[in-house]
């Protein structure tokens, strides 16, 4: 588990000058971010603002055109034309992603989904991985579902398995990509509760979310992005209650007063 002394002084992750284009479309323009150990950072912003792309760059699922992503204790990757594939993929070992659409493996049981990484990638023994997986499943209230297949679970249950699968990698950073956007409203609470507990336990996480109330509750820092740039960042209370920038004000107002 991550250390619980909240907001240690050492940055766990430093991102600087991240640029990414899809064709002519500049999705990220010189993004700088810092995540401290134990910090919960919420990325908010209108759709198309680039927040999910930031998350995917951190996990090596997307290759930035330029910029640096550096984890304390390595790896530190500077992106450019000469960056090797191995270097880019090295980022994956430090973080684990929880996807909007869960992306569970449909041909594997809940337990198999969770132990796949520990056994196949980290080469742990199956017994050891299973034991740890069962403990984690217990925590999210899904112990009795271990032998079910994903399609036999509700969306909320599937997403909790997704979270457990990420936890089982023992990453130093957890990434959540709109983890509740695909869920029926009545199932959102269960998933958010799990995320909140993890935050309280001291996990470091970056969270892309539309749930502003939730962001205010769990996040230490909120980063507001629009059109590929960081418009404003600061303590959650400040950014969400008294945003300094007009664009942030408009966005927050629109989300809190949809009608």
């Amino acid at each position: 588990m991550s250390p619980t002394d909240r907001l240690g002084e050492t940055p766990l992750l430093e991102v600087s000058g991240l640029n990414k284009s899809f064709g002519d479309n500049e999705v990220l323009r010189s993004i700088d971010l810092q995540v401290k150990s134990g910090q919960v950072l919420a990325l908010i912003g209108p759709s198309g603002s680039g927040k999910t792309t930031v998350l995917r760059c951190l996990n090596g699922l997307e290759q930035p055109d330029a910029g640096t992503v550096a984890f304390s204790g390595g790896p530190a990757v500077t992106f450019g034309a000469k960056t090797s594939r191995r270097e880019k993929e090295s980022l994956r070992t430090r973080s684990a992603m929880v996807f909007q659409g869960y992306n569970l493996f449909p041909h594997k049981t809940v337990l198999q989904n969770v132990i796949e990484g520990p056994v196949q990638v980290q080469k742990r023994s199956k017994a050891d991985a299973t034991q740890r997986a069962e403990r984690l499943l217990e925590r999210v209230g899904l112990a009795e579902k271990r032998d079910n297949y994903p399609h036999e679970l509700s969306g909320g249950q599937q997403q909790r398995v997704g979270i457990v699968r990420a936890l089982a990698q023992e990453p130093s950073l957890l990434l959540f990509d709109e983890p509740t956007s695909a869920l029926d409203p009545e199932l959102v609470g269960d998933v958010l509760r799990v995320i909140k507990e993890l935050a309280e336990e001291g996990w470091t996480m970056v969270l892309v979310t539309h749930e502003l109330a939730f962001a205010r509750e769990v996040a230490d820092t909120v980063v507001f992005m629009d059109e590929g740039v960081v418009v404003e960042q600061g303590p959650a209370e400040t950014v969400l209650r008294e945003p300094a920038q007009e664009r942030t004000q408009r966005f927050v107002h629109r989300l809190l007063n949809p009608f």
Binding site: N59, A96, F99, N103, L104, F105, H107, G117, Y149, Q169
Partner: protein
């Protein structure tokens, strides 16, 4: 109305069936297995992102699909000896059918792999897998389920196509039928009988396909 010589039907049944069991079926199984292995390699080449590999696979598939199977078979059995390569009838047939199945099945496998959602690859990457690990452990098992119905069609076609091997003197069901028919001069009876046996083989295969599909059903997202 023709008079059916039931004694002939009964007498020729076992030789025909033996031709099927010892000729048609082994030839089909060998060709299909080799063909699938070839198809997998070709499909990998096609999705590799490497222009050269992808291009080679594309040209190969195009040639196989664009030329008659009988011509392919004749090139290998009758054509190759003139450039110094002589292959026996049975291996010639197995090579020709394998190469043919490889071309057709490659496109099936490629399409099945592409049908697996991109999120499955990404989920594999996020738990630290390499591209190869994700492919073998996550993508191919899911692609397999999708490819069973079209691959079964290929297999059933192959069972029937092996009758072409009779033209290069391979002893299989149809070759046996030709011999009996020539000898007895009862063409209608013998060829219909051969047809019925082919049909029975395919019925059994269709049943196996159904069961396989049901067993693999859990491999797809619902």
């Amino acid at each position: 109305m023709i008079d059916i010589d039931w004694t002939l039907v009964a007498e020729s049944f076992w030789p025909l069936l033996r031709g099927g069991l010892t000729g048609t079926i082994p030839l089909t199984l060998a060709s299909f297995t080799l063909g699938l292995a070839l198809a997998l390699v070709l499909a990998m080449m096609r999705i590799s992102g490497n222009r050269l590999f992808s291009g080679i696979a594309r040209v190969y598939i195009s040639i196989i699909r664009g030329t008659p199977l009988l011509v392919q078979l004749f090139v290998i059995f009758y054509g190759l000896p003139s450039v110094g390569v002589t292959i026996d009838p049975w291996p010639s047939a197995a090579i020709a059918f394998s190469m043919n199945v490889g071309g057709y099945a490659a496109e099936i496998i490629r399409a099945s792999i592409l049908s697996v959602p991109k999120g499955q690859w990404e989920a594999g990457y996020t738990i630290g897998m390499s591209r190869n690990q994700a492919l073998w452990r996550l993508i191919l098992p899911q692609a397999l389920r999708v490819s069973v119905p079209p691959l079964s069609n290929t297999f059933i076609s192959l069972v029937k196509d092996t009758s072409l091997a009779s033209l290069i003197l391979v002893t299989e069901l149809f070759r046996v039928a030709q011999e009996i028919a020539a000898f007895s001069q009862e063409f209608m009876i013998i060829y219909v009988e051969a047809a019925v046996i082919y049909w029975c083989f395919c019925l059994v295969l269709t049943m196996i396909q159904d069961r396989l599909e049901r067993r693999l059903d859990r491999y797809v997202a619902h």
